[in-house]
Symmetry: D2
Subunit: 260 residues, 4 copies
């Protein structure tokens, strides 16, 4: 049958069981145990995606599944509800060169990479070695395109210009505690009219950023994205009991031609 | 200077004035009037993006700017807060073939097109001629890639198979009033494990869909996306007074291998 | 000192420790143990409210403290965010006679009682004996006024009229799974223009009620109350990570003079 | 018929027409005009509440109706969603003496008055003469109990003690721009364990208050109340399109026995 994709050794698969989801790698020597049974991964090989075995269904994972159930987290990750919005609103295009300040666990990096495609480029800075190493592993495991340059260093304009010549940047995502000290260098490395997003968890940080951002950027917006999930029982349709109330404030802006 | 992009005749530009935004086309014979003045578009040609003239700043528009300020609306559009999330969560990839049921004004079509890139393909059905013609104009004006096939017809499996042979579909977005009658044909045209999203404004519609969806799909999720905007005055940082309280419920699912 | 209220044996007290709250009764034979120590209740007697002992502060409890930390729950209770709004919006006045359908654990009953004062009257129906007995205990423990009549029976107009003569009702709160079957009798027992509130957890229930309510009631409103809590650290002011996403839909209405 | 309350000259009535609400006073010389007709108030006198005349229904107004449709607003009022929660959470009891800082238009004063009943007392300070005069008119028009003392002055401890001797306060509501300067005097006038609420529109104000509040108060909570309204059409049950996104942050606390 056309359109039938078959499960292969080494594939990342999404296991759906009792409305819970697990991201696993097909390894002929391992198996997946759950309350009511056990699946040998070797038995899945050659079977089509979408297959149901007992109470378990096997699907192809999405970028969201990878971020929510796959990556190893050493930090609070950027959740898909935020990174999906950020990536689209930044208007990431093929061929774009994008900077990320604060790789963290690499969750957002993977989303940006997925939108930058083969011809784009993401340069991501993470000063903490522990985080850098973890993000590197996550990205190696789950990347779709070979377009991410991970650097274990704090962003520094002189170093950047030495390494990347006078490369000009199309888009930037800033996920560090204190963005104010880098605003000036960020301005210098961005193309005029470039879109930038800052992610900040507290109102104090947003207030501090808003005090300075107008020198370099215009078209400022501050937003929160809230997702409300519903129970899927048609006879008793209602929201879930609890929801995520806060991840971070998102500040969007566009680089002015001239400072001031 | 490297990275300096210049404004050209025919460009769509985003005019930023007093924290309001306007999407305009550069036409040497026209001008932009605002409360305190007037700009001749011909004076902008050859100037760099990001430029400030008086109280006005000119930026390159994003896909969001196009949807919010550019397209002509004959229907309630799919807002970027929803379409950005849908597009990313559907995991739209290059080379994907995607179906859209209910083109409406083409707002979501443009977002999907932008993620499908040159190598992907969107086939979008709109039965109302008035809407089809309007969407066609919007898409011709604002498309980035040549990957959209707009059809002024209701989806019909037999016709589809005649026209597109046994083309199998990777992703689908369904934005029609009554999705239940097409579930069976939708199942037939989708690849197993394909991601699908239904957009429905009322709880009654969601309840009706949830009653039938499990036959064909699994990994069901129902979500609402809420965006809260903040005033950008650093001395009085607080949310805007009012917000959009509802656009639609989003139902996500994955196509099973076999019905039942 | 004037205004100094002293802790007495038998008092319900609110113990505040490390931003957590506990409702306890002062009993000379017992004590309160916590991570870093132990307080003998007998040592509190004669001390003023507001007193701090080690890391613990003792306050007079409010009706909210009683509901959140005091009553024994055999059901999902009506949370103060909802019952405070309901009670005020029903415009409960002294001398009012109010009906409650579905006592549950008595959480809402206590709030209504507190607004009805000594001269008002709450008649509350609970058909399940287990719930009735538990609510009775909660109310005996925590009531401020002697204005609650708890009945272990389903509401029945004939019985009601036999027992309460032709008593006419000023306000009603309906917290039962299927309100439609009682609408007609509810109409008969209410004064014209009486305010009523229905509490329903699912959209299906709301839809069913809205289909019938117009025959008997007018000025219909459906509302959800959401409370977002914030972390109280001034250097990092931000919302809590999670919040309650749903308790119930509240339907408010006013009784028409005539049916139809 | 028992329970039938009749409309009298001078009554405030709630007119319900096409799901819109109007608060009017019955005046034999006036009438109510609407799109499809006209009602002479004199024709209403002696008729029962709940009556329907043409497409109009007449109800007895609630405290909420008075605040939303009755009072003359010279300021942003405290909305019922907030004042109902505040009043109940402050645990206002009969016999309580309560302070209000910032009468504004008197909307919250009326709610507090309604809970304090005949035996309680509200002392409310408003320094702006214009607001004081307007609030006075609103309160005279709509008060239920004679328990409000309005003062056209800024709160000052010495003056207060001269006028009210050593009266100690049970509950306080603070709705002024800068509460920090009054915290010390507020502490001095409150009973230990007294409940207090501060209403502040911006995060900056909340941050400033949180820096100082711990000296005087404990059991701090910061909350936002959000109300989501639904359309009442049973065939298309869904939230309203827009909602109020922000009125103010509410800060609740309890007075410590001793400062520090």
């Amino acid at each position: 049958m056309k359109g039938l994709e078959l499960i292969k050794e080494g594939d990342w698969i999404l296991i759906n069981y009792d409305d819970k989801r697990y991201l696993k790698r097909v390894n002929i020597e391992h198996n997946f145990s759950y309350k009511k049974g056990n699946i040998q991964y070797k038995d899945l090989i050659g079977k089509p995606y979408g297959i149901k075995i007992g109470e378990i269904t096997i699907f192809k994972p999405t970028i969201e599944d990878i971020i929510l159930y796959g990556i190893n987290r050493l930090t609070q990750i950027v959740y898909p509800k935020d990174s999906f919005y950020i990536a689209s609103k930044l208007n990431i295009l093929e061929n774009d060169v994008m900077l990320e300040f604060g790789t963290g666990s690499g969750a957002a990096s993977l989303v940006f990479s997925y939108l930058l495609k083969e011809s784009g480029k993401l340069i991501s800075f993470e000063k903490e070695e522990r985080l850098y190493k973890n993000a590197k592993k996550n990205i190696e495991k789950f990347k779709i395109y070979d377009n991410i340059t991970l650097l274990n260093q704090e962003f520094n304009l002189k170093n950047f210009q030495k390494e990347f010549k006078d490369l000009k940047i199309d888009k930037a995502f800033v996920d560090i505690r204190e963005p104010n000290p880098i605003l000036n260098e960020l301005f210098d490395v961005l193309k005029p009219s470039a879109n930038v997003c800052f992610l900040l968890p507290t109102t104090n940080q947003v207030i501090d950023l808003l005090k300075n951002i107008r020198i370099y950027f215009d078209s400022i917006e501050v937003k929160e994205i809230l997702v409300r999930n519903y129970k899927i029982v048609p006879e008793r349709f209602r929201p879930e009991d609890i929801m995520s109330a806060h991840t971070a404030y998102l500040i969007f802006a566009k680089r002015k031609l001239e400072k001031g």
